[in-house]
């Protein structure tokens, strides 16, 4: 009893509240997305639990049980077993190749009864735990190459396996750990070059590579020109030119890779981002319809259950990846603003919580949570409003899907559990 009291007293209820709001609003939108005006189903109606809204209700119920379990388990369990959990999910990721069920072209699901579980979703949480464990090991310093290498290994093993099962979207999420690593002391040149590579990547899609070369030459010339005289050494100049040349080669490589390595549907998703009118009927269709749904919402939306874009199947994957379209269409700019605000509040709150940890493990894990949530938020909403390519990843707590709801809830509540016991931890740093 005493323990129970303690957890209820120390649990960060603000985050819990934000979580509950997300889940409820998310469910309401799933219900709206599958709502059929000719055959409106409500809880209790026959067939209700065959709909995504009905199934999601079951997932939410089981999630509550999971959360209780997490809160009951000793907070030290996660730190102790971090590598074990990581190993377990690596094993699961490998096992899907053997026992996995194929759903929508990807071979990454495990069937349990009537539901499917996607181990890849949980691998994010496991990786966050493992990273936290490794980084919080005494003497680990992210500015050292050896540690950088180990960290890279921990981060890259799951996405490689996930890529092999053709879940590109989930694999990309692991790039988000750059945020965590940056916070924990990874030299700034890494995220900087990471960002410039992304920018260069996008530029190389828009402009032919010779123009990129010219641009880079001009840019490096400018940099050399503004360099203070004492820095204008042959070594520095050669380095700048070398980097510029490497970037040019990279851009050319991207061009080549886009046309020769990527599959056509992936290539089109990127092209659509740059040219929305490209291929209007097929690939462009989804992006266009998503934008129409959101754009037609206006200031205050069409009203709950009144969306025509989402109701009449114009928007694809409307209860899962494109759930934000329902918000945009039915609740308008006001609703979208609230949802973006909700996520931003959650992210900033978790950063705040992470920063108040005495244990480095807890803090790093907290940033792991932040990194993953942020990446999902940015990419998912970004793709519905045409600022990101279509990468099929869910909006945390909103999108329909048991695996994602479970994994995000576990991810968050493990951190909240640890946070609740922060005063019991002696600082080891």
């Amino acid at each position: 009893m005493a323990r129970q009291e303690k957890i209820s007293k120390n649990l960060d209820w603000i985050t819990v509240l934000l979580f509950i709001v997300c889940v409820i609003v998310g469910w309401a939108n799933i219900y709206a997305a599958i709502y059929n005006p000719e055959n409106p189903l409500w809880i209790g109606d026959a067939g209700f639990f065959d709909t995504n809204a009905g199934k999601q209700l079951i997932w939410i119920g089981t999630t509550v049980l999971l959360i209780i379990a997490i809160l009951v388990i000793d907070y030290r369990f996660y730190e102790t077993t971090a590598f074990f959990i990581y190993g377990f999910f690596i094993f699961m990721l490998i096992s899907v190749f053997v026992i996995g069920a194929e759903i929508k072209g990807s071979h990454s699901w495990i069937r349990i009864g009537g539901f499917q579980i996607q181990p890849a979703e949980f691998a994010k949480m496991a990786t966050a735990l493992a990273l936290a464990k490794y980084v919080s090991t005494p003497m680990v310093n992210l500015s050292r190459f050896k540690d950088q290498f180990n960290v890279a290994l921990i981060i890259l093993i799951p996405p490689v396996l996930i890529l092999l099962s053709k879940e590109t979207g989930v694999a990309l999420v692991f790039a988000s750990f750059m945020v965590l690593l940056y916070r924990e002391g990874l030299p700034g040149v890494y995220p900087a070059s990471f960002l410039s590579i992304i920018i260069l990547f996008v530029l190389s899609l828009i402009y032919p590579s010779w123009q990129i070369f010219v641009g880079l030459a001009v840019l490096s010339g400018l940099i050399i020109w503004i360099l203070p005289r004492y820095e204008r050494k042959t070594r520095n100049i050669l380095m700048i030119l070398g980097v510029a040349f490497a970037m040019g080669v990279f851009a050319t490589g991207v061009d080549w890779a886009i046309n020769n390595v990527l599959q056509e549907h992936q290539r089109n998703r990127i092209k659509v981002l740059i040219d929305p009118d490209f291929d209007r009927k097929k690939t462009g269709y989804n992006v266009r319809q998503a934008k129409i749904a959101i754009g037609s919402g206006g200031l205050i939306g069409k009203g709950y259950l009144q969306g025509t874009q989402t109701k009449f199947d114009f928007v694809p994957e409307q209860s899962t990846d494109f759930i934000f379209c329902t918000v945009g269409e039915e609740e308008g700019f006001a609703g979208s603003l609230l949802v973006v605000g909700l996520f931003l509040s959650l992210l900033l709150r978790v950063i705040y919580l992470a920063e108040r940890q005495k244990s480095r493990f807890a803090r790093v894990y907290g940033y792991g949570v932040v990194s993953i949530l942020f990446f999902h938020f940015m990419v998912n909403i970004g793709m519905t409003i045409g600022l990101m390519p279509v990468i099929g990843i869910p909006l945390p707590f909103f999108s329909y899907g048991g695996s994602s709801l479970w994994s995000f809830s576990i991810l968050l509540f493990i951190f909240l559990k640890i946070d609740a016991h922060r005063s019991q931890v002696l600082s080891r740093w």
Partner: protein, 667 residues
């Protein structure tokens, strides 16, 4: 260090959130196009075209009504035609037609129904019903077709047709969006004039459809739906019996008949000959006949009464007499001999010792002198100035008869005609710089007998007859007595307009008109024994051959019931040709039938040889020396060119009874 990095991360998150919020603001609040896109996606507007208003005659007889027809629509995605040949056979189309129609439909939308064939009759519809079960994806929609109970009055009624691209463009400019491509709209005549009343209000049904085009019920439970409201019926003032009778009298002829009820200004009949069967331009036969009619050199689609150009000829002498009497230029007893007039008299007649006789015998020199007195009736001493001042005053009085003015009849394309004024002659005789004082009375003397630069149309002259019948006033002529119910018409048709001439002068002139009919210029066929008809003949010169025969009249003398103008192109003198036709119409209207069966038959069957010969092109005319000689007259004639469809070689032989028009300004 860590603090800065934390701030960087927070800042980055906030930055992304701000970018997204501004992007959302742009998409949702600023850019309006997505709303439209969403509506186009999910809301299908079903237009329900109401029945067009019916058209009745003055005795509530139906003239124009609607017949239900069926339009065939195809939804390409659902359509399955296993046996194309049979399908084509059933609908009477060819294989290439079938292919192109279905192709067009597919381009428009695979999931939305496209119009494929228009206006299948009830019989055709019944015939294809059995076969339609084999062709899913084809649906019928009810639509309506204009139907005419008689063949009368095609031109004044006008026709309904698909809206033209020009009109759609015009609509776009005015910001209206009522019509869409393929909509039916009144193109000419009353159908056009009263389009907005006749068309009714379109109903709109908003249906929601999903991404596969399957209907998902009414949008907002039909809250925005609108039921169609049928168009308003037109109650016209036309007497369809008289109209049909006049139409038949004008067969084999080119010209017009306009009959007006003087006491109301209501048009009783309006014939434009040659006419056509109005049902030819209704429905599927439209495309087949429109070009034929449109290209016909006799211009059957031109509604002559308000739109054609003619010189009034001697009918204008009535106005001259009235204006001169009112001015005091002459009195009822003023007489003129034939001497001293450059215009000869074509009639052998006793000396015109007073106004009545002058009208009775249509004496040219008399009106030359009268006109001269009117023009010179002022105190100017310079002859040029005198002419200009005189013409201005004369114009003012003549204009009140509607000459050169719009009568604002409820028909499209009414032409004002021409009442030449001072600037007009200044330009005509002064060249480009409009030099004043370069013409005098002798240059405009032809106006005295209605042969100069004055241009009228049959409607105007019928109205002149009505003015005289009323002894000095008129209501603007109109064809519609009521929209929906009698009396619901524009206020302008209820306004009594005076022409500013004393009543006693009319009695003088009417005396002359009675004499003209009974013992004057009107031939025997145009005389009525039991109805006192007052009329005036006119013989309008034109460059296209034989003179146009004109007659205006009203009857009976006291309490007139009908005023009429008859124009028969290239028929000859007014008294011999137009007058008999007018007399038959008057008789028909007043008595309900004509007792003069032989005359009736004669005039119904009479035709005039119409020479349809292309003139030499205009550019060739300038090479013709004789054309150069009378360039001034030609200028006028060029305007008159619009009058008649058929054209003869320019310098046709002068008829013995034509007037000599002063050819060149005398200086």
């Amino acid at each position: 260090m860590e603090e800065i990095r934390k701030r960087f991360i927070q800042g980055f998150f906030i930055l992304i959130a701000l970018i997204y919020v501004s992007r959302l603001f742009y998409l949702q609040v600023i850019d309006e196009t997505y709303k439209l896109d969403a509506e186009n996606n999910a809301i299908r507007k079903l237009i329900q075209v109401p029945f067009r208003g019916l058209v009745y005659d003055r005795n509530k007889k139906l003239i124009v009504s609607n017949t239900v027809v069926y339009d065939l629509y195809v939804t390409p995605k659902k359509a399955k035609v296993a046996d194309t040949l049979r399908f084509c056979e059933i609908f009477g189309i060819t294989r290439p037609e079938f292919d192109s129609l279905t192709h067009l439909a597919r381009i428009y939308s695979p999931v939305r129904p496209s119009l494929m064939l228009r206006q299948l009759s009830r019989q055709d519809y019944a015939r294809v019903q059995d076969a339609m079960v084999d062709y899913p994806g084809f649906d019928f929609q009810v639509s309506a077709l204009r139907t005419y109970d008689s063949k009368a009055m095609a031109n004044a009624l006008g026709y309904v047709g698909e809206i033209s691209p020009e009109r759609l463009l015009k609509q776009e400019e005015t910001g209206d969006d009522y019509y869409r491509q393929g909509d039916y709209v009144g193109v000419t005549g009353l159908e056009r004039q009263y389009e907005e009343k006749l068309r009714g209000e379109r109903g709109i049904k908003y249906m929601m459809v999903n991404s596969r085009g399957v209907e998902k019920g009414a949008f907002k439970n039909g809250a925005f739906d609108k039921d169609p409201i049928a168009g308003k019926n037109l109650i016209t003032s036309i007497d369809i019996n008289l109209q049909a009778y006049a139409d038949s009298l004008m067969q084999h002829k080119v010209g017009s008949v306009v009959a007006i009820e003087p006491s109301t200004g209501e048009v009783l009949a309006m014939v434009s000959a040659p006419t056509y069967d109005p049902s030819l331009l209704s429905g599927r036969t439209y495309s087949k006949y429109f070009q034929t009619l449109n290209l016909n050199p006799l211009h059957p689609l031109l509604n002559r009464p308000p739109s054609a150009y003619y010189r009034p000829g001697s009918t204008f002498k009535i106005i001259q007499a009235l204006v001169a009497l009112q001015m005091g230029a002459i009195s009822a007893g003023t007489g003129f001999g034939h001497g001293g007039s450059p215009i000869n008299c074509s009639h052998n007649h006793p000396v015109a010792s007073d106004v009545q006789k002058a009208i009775q015998y249509s004496c040219n020199p008399y009106f030359y002198q009268t006109y001269k007195r009117m023009i010179y009736k002022n105190n100017e001493t310079n002859v040029f100035k005198k002419s200009a001042v005189g013409l201005e005053k004369w114009d003012e009085m003549v204009a009140k008869f509607g000459i050169g003015q719009s009568l604002e009849i409820d028909l499209p394309n009414e032409k004002k005609g021409k009442l030449p004024d001072v600037p007009y002659y200044d330009k005509m005789y002064g060249g480009q710089e409009k030099a004043p004082l370069r013409w005098k009375f002798s240059n405009i003397a032809s106006n005295s007998i209605g042969e100069g630069e004055i241009i009228v149309n049959p409607l105007k002259m019928a109205n002149v007859a009505a003015i005289i019948a009323n002894r000095g006033w008129y209501y603007r002529p109109h064809l519609v007595k009521g929209i929906g119910k009698v009396g619901d018409i524009d206020e302008k048709y209820k306004e009594k307009i005076s022409v500013g001439i004393d009543r006693r002068h009319f009695e003088t002139v009417i005396g002359g008109m009675v004499a003209a009919v009974n013992n004057g210029t009107v031939s025997g066929d145009g005389r009525l024994s039991d109805i006192q008809m007052c009329g005036k003949t006119g013989t309008s010169q034109n460059r296209h051959g034989e003179n146009h025969s004109i007659f205006i009249a009203f009857a009976p003398r006291e309490n007139p019931k009908i005023a009429i103008a008859v124009f028969v192109e290239n028929a000859g003198s007014g008294g011999a040709h137009a007058a008999p036709i007018a007399s038959l119409c008057v008789e028909k209207y007043i008595k309900g039938h004509s007792d003069r069966k032989a005359i009736e038959t004669k005039w119904m069957n009479k035709g005039y040889p119409i020479n349809i010969i292309r003139t030499t092109p205009k550019s060739d005319n300038s090479k013709n020396p004789s054309a150069k000689k009378d360039s001034v007259v030609k200028k006028v004639d060029e305007e008159l060119f619009l009058t008649t469809p058929q054209t003869l070689p320019l310098m046709g032989a002068e008829k013995p009874n034509t007037f000599k028009i002063p050819m060149k300004p005398k200086r």
